[in-house]
C-alpha cells in the first residue's frame, strides 16, 4: 500500500518554481530517500507533505486520502534546522509537542519518559534545554519527532550533530520503526547512510526528479564501470590513460571510472601487466551512490542559485 503519493506537484514562489511536476510513491514499511543538492526543492516538497505549504498544482495523498490537517497527527517531522524552547524543561517540552500531535497529557508524559529511558537520557527530564549539550538537544528533538509513534516519519538530515555511537543508535531505531510497519522519508546528503538505510530514492535537482527507483537497481543500471585496483611497482601505465575519471589515486591504489573511455577494462589490465606493474587486485564494482549523485546532478546543471 502506498502511504504517500505525490502526483504532478508544483509549487512556485513568485517567478521561482521550487517544485516542478514532482511525482512519486512511497510504500508502507519502507525507507524512502529524498536526495538532491542544496536548493533543489527538497524542503519545499517536505513542507507540502507536512501540510505547512499548499501545492499550487497537483495532488498529495497521505494514507489513501488527499492531504489535510488531520494527517498532521500521523506524521513526525524532524526539520533540518533544529530548535527547542531554551528555557523550558525537557519533559514539559516533549509533553507539549506530544499534545500538539493529539496525545493526552498523561500519555505524552509516559511516552516521553519511556523514550528518554530508551535513549539513555532518563535523567534529563527536569533539565532546561539550555543546560544540555548540542548532541543532547538533538536527541530530545528526535524524541519529540517520534513520541506520538507516527505512521510516516520525515527526517531531514537526522544524523547531523550526532557522534558515531549515537548515529548507530539512531539508525537502529529507524530500522526498528521500519520493521514495525512505519514508513520513513529520509532526506540527507550523506550517501553512505542512504545506501545503508533506503529502499527507494528520488533524486531532485532544480525542482525536477532526475533519478528515481530502487537503490540496488539504480546502482546496477549505472553499470559496472567503476574500477578498483591495487598494485605494486610502477604506476606509469596510469599516465597512458585518457578520458578516464580518477576518483582516488595513491601510490599503490587507484579508483577510476571508465565512463566513455577509449579502453575496456581488459585493455587496461593488459597494459598494466605489460608495464611491469604487479597487480594485486583488479575489480569492477558498482559505482557508489555518491558517484551517481555527483554524476547525475552535474549532467543537469549543478546547484541552484
Amino acid at each position: 500500500m502506498s502511504v504517500l503519493v505525490l502526483d504532478n506537484v508544483v509549487k512556485s514562489f513568485g517567478n521561482f518554481k521550487a517544485v516542478d511536476r514532482i511525482s512519486f510513491e512511497v510504500e508502507q514499511g519502507t525507507v524512502f530517500g529524498v536526495l538532491g543538492p542544496n536548493g533543489a526543492g527538497k524542503t519545499t516538497t517536505i513542507r507540502m507533505i507536512t501540510n505547512i505549504l499548499i501545492p499550487d498544482e497537483g495532488e498529495i495523498q497521505l494514507f489513501g486520502e488527499p492531504v489535510n490537517p488531520v494527517h498532521q497527527n500521523r506524521i513526525g517531522y524532524l526539520p533540518e534546522e533544529r530548535g527547542l524552547y531554551k528555557k523550558i524543561k525537557v519533559i514539559e517540552q516533549l509533553i507539549y509537542f506530544g499534545q500538539l500531535k493529539g496525545l493526552t497529557r498523561s500519555f505524552a508524559q509516559k511516552a516521553a519518559n519511556q523514550w528518554l529511558f530508551n535513549m539513555d537520557a532518563k535523567d534529563w527530564g527536569n533539565k532546561k534545554i539550555q543546560e544540555l549539550s548540542k548532541g543532547m538537544q538533538q536527541k530530545v528533538q528526535f524524541i519529540s519527532t517520534i513520541l506520538h509513534s507516527p505512521d510516516l516519519l520525515i527526517l531531514d538530515e537526522p544524523f547531523s550533530g550526532f557522534d558515531p555511537i549515537n548515529v548507530e543508535i539512531l539508525k537502529k531505531i529507524i530500522l526498528d520503526l521500519k520493521d514495525s510497519g512505519k514508513t520513513i522519508l529520509l532526506s540527507t546528503h550523506v550517501m553512505e547512510q542512504v545506501e545503508q538505510l533506503c529502499d527507494n530514492i528520488v533524486l531532485i535537482n532544480k525542482g525536477k526528479i532526475i533519478l528515481e527507483g530502487n537503490v540496488r537497481k539504480i546502482k546496477r543500471n549505472f553499470g559496472r564501470d567503476y574500477v578498483l585496483m591495487e598494485f605494486e611497482g610502477s604506476d606509469s601505465f596510469l599516465d597512458d590513460l585518457h578520458n578516464v575519471k580518477f576518483i582516488n589515486r595513491t601510490k599503490n591504489r587507484v579508483e577510476f571510472r571508465l565512463n566513455n573511455a577509449d579502453y575496456t577494462a581488459n585493455q587496461i589490465l593488459q597494459n598494466a601487466i605489460d608495464k611491469k606493474a604487479e597487480v594485486i587486485r583488479f575489480e569492477l564494482v558498482e559505482p557508489s551512490l555518491n558517484e551517481i549523485f555527483i554524476d547525475v546532478v552535474q549532467k543537469t546543471g549543478g546547484e541552484n542559485e
Binding site: 505547512i52 505549504l53 488531520v70 533544529r82 530548535g83 524552547y85 514539559e92 500531535k101 519529540s144
Partner: protein, 432 residues
C-alpha cells in the same frame, strides 16, 4: 471537542502556564501595585516641591496710587512697594538684584493694562496669578468709582466653590468627577502600559519560536492561525490574570481595609456606636470612591477596552514578529505601530479635562485610540450610550480585521528567513 479547538487549547494552555510560572510574572504581579503607589507618591512629592520654588520677588511701582499697598498686602512673599525710578529698576533686573517689577500706570483703569518687566519667562502660571490679583483690585476700584459702597462690593466679590452632585436612578450621590477624571487617566495609562508590555511579550515569543526554528515543528502540527491565536489568547489571559488579581486586591482593600483603618483611629471608650470621627469620615469618603469605582460600569469598560486593545495590537505585533529573524530587526517595523499607541497618550490630558468636546469624542472613536481615550472619557464623564456602543462595534470590527491581516502575514512570515522585510513586503504577503 473538535480537532482544532483541542490544538488551539493546547497552545493557549502552554503559553499561559509557561508565562504565569515565571518569576518575573509573579514578582511583577505582587510588586506591581507597590511600584504604582511609589510612582504616584513620587509624582505628588515632585509636584509639591515644584510649587514652592515658584515664588519670585516683584517690586511694585504704583503710579496709579490707589491699591498698590493692598496688592502688596495680599501676598507679601511676592510683592513689595518701591519708589525707585523705572530705569533704576530695569538696572536691578538686569543685574539680577530683583526678579522683576510691576508698573501700575496712572491710566490703568482706562487702558486696562499694567506691565511686568522680568528677565523673561517666569511661566504662564506666574503671569496669570499677577494678572488675576491686579484685575481683582482694579475691579474693586472701578466699582468704588461707580459709587457702590464697600458692603455691596464685598457681596460682588464673594467667591463661590462649585460642589458637584450627580443625579442617578439611585438618587443624588456624591459625585467624584475630579477624582474620576484622574482615575480615567490612570486607567488609560494602565491600558497603554499593558498593550505595550503584553504586545511585546507576543512579538518576542513569536520571534523566539522563529529564531530557534521551533516554528517549523509546530507548524507541522497545527495551522499557523491556531499557533498565532493560541499565543495571543494565552498571553492575553496572563494579562487578564494580572489585572483581575489587582482588582481583587482593590476589593479586599476597599471592604476589609476600611474597618481595619477605623479600628486604628477610633477610641471605643468615648465613641458611641454609629458616630464617626472626622478622620473616619474622610476614610469613609475615600473608600466610598473606590467602592463607587468597583461598582460602576467603568470597571467593565476598562476590562473591555483593555482586552480589545490588547488583541488589536498584539495580533499586529505577532505579524511583525513573524516577519523578522531576530528582535533587533523588528524595531523598524514596530515604529509605526508604536506611534499608534503613543499618539493617544499625547491627547490624554485634553480628553481628561474636556471629555465631552467634539475633539475628544472623535479621537475616542478612532479604533486604534479607543482603548486609551474612551476609558478616560467613560471615567471622567457620562458618555452617551451610542458612543460607547459605536466604540465597542468599531473595536470588535478592528479586532477581526487585524486578526485577518496579521494571520495572513504570519502564515508567510514564519517560513521566511534571510531578508529583512519592508512594510511593502508585508502588504504583498497579505495579498498572497
Amino acid at each position: 471537542m473538535s480537532e482544532n479547538t483541542s490544538k488551539i487549547m493546547t497552545i493557549i494552555k502552554h503559553e499561559y502556564i509557561t508565562k504565569v510560572k515565571t518569576k518575573g510574572f509573579i514578582i511583577g504581579t505582587i510588586l506591581g501595585p507597590l511600584a504604582i503607589v511609589i510612582v504616584i507618591g513620587a509624582v505628588i512629592v515632585v509636584t509639591m516641591l515644584s510649587m514652592d520654588t515658584g515664588i519670585k520677588k516683584i517690586a511694585v511701582l504704583d503710579r496709579f496710587g490707589k491699591f498698590g499697598s493692598q496688592l502688596v498686602a495680599s501676598d507679601t512673599a511676592r510683592y513689595y512697594l518701591t519708589d525707585l525710578k523705572e530705569s533704576e529698576l530695569k538696572d536691578q533686573v538686569r543685574n539680577e538684584e530683583i526678579d522683576g517689577f510691576l508698573i501700575l500706570p496712572e491710566d490703568i483703569l482706562e487702558n486696562n493694562t499694567a506691565t511686568v518687566y522680568t528677565r523673561g519667562g517666569g511661566g504662564i502660571g506666574f503671569i496669570e496669578s499677577i494678572e488675576s490679583s491686579v484685575e481683582h483690585f482694579s475691579r474693586i476700584e472701578r466699582l468704588k468709582n461707580a459709587g457702590l459702597n464697600t458692603d455691596v462690593i464685598d457681596i460682588v466679590e464673594k467667591g463661590i466653590n462649585i460642589e458637584t452632585e450627580k443625579v442617578t436612578e439611585e438618587g443624588v450621590q456624591k459625585d467624584h468627577t475630579e477624582a474620576f477624571a484622574v482615575l480615567g487617566y490612570i486607567l488609560g495609562f494602565a491600558i497603554y502600559m499593558f498593550m505595550f508590555i503584553y504586545g511585546s511579550f507576543v512579538s518576542r515569543g513569536v520571534i523566539e519560536e522563529k529564531a530557534n526554528r521551533i516554528i517549523e515543528v509546530i507548524a507541522s502540527s497545527a495551522k499557523p492561525f491556531e499557533i498565532m491565536m493560541g499565543k495571543v489568547v494565552g498571553i492575553g489571559l496572563v494579562g487578564l490574570t494580572q489585572v483581575l488579581f489587582w482588582i481583587l486586591l482593590m476589593f479586599v482593600l476597599a471592604f476589609a481595609g476600611q474597618p481595619l483603618l477605623n479600628s486604628f483611629i477610633s477610641e471605643p471608650a468615648i465613641m458611641t456606636p454609629g458616630m464617626m470621627t472626622p478622620e473616619q469620615m474622610e476614610i469613609q469618603a475615600q473608600f466610598g470612591m473606590v467602592k463607587d469605582f468597583l461598582g460602576s460600569g467603568i470597571l467593565i469598560g476598562f476590562l473591555f477596552y483593555f482586552l480589545s486593545g490588547y488583541f488589536v495590537y498584539s495580533t499586529i505585533f505577532a505579524a511583525i514578529g513573524s516577519a523578522v529573524d531576530q528582535e533587533q530587526d523588528a524595531q523598524q517595523l514596530m515604529m509605526p505601530v508604536s506611534m499608534l499607541i503613543i499618539i493617544p497618550m499625547l491627547f490624554i490630558s485634553v480628553v481628561m479635562t474636556n471629555p465631552d468636546s467634539t475633539v475628544s469624542v472623535i479621537l475616542s472613536l478612532v479604533p486604534f485610540f479607543t482603548p486609551i481615550l474612551m476609558i478616560v472619557r467613560v471615567a471622567a464623564t457620562q458618555v452617551p450610550f451610542w458612543q460607547v456602543a459605536l466604540s465597542v462595534v468599531l473595536m470588535i470590527g478592528t479586532f477581526f480585521a487585524c486578526i485577518w491581516v496579521a494571520s495572513r502575514i504570519y502564515r508567510v512570515g514564519i517560513l521566511m528567513y534571510g531578508k529583512k522585510p519592508s512594510i511593502k513586503d508585508l502588504i504583498k504577503w497579505v495579498r498572497l
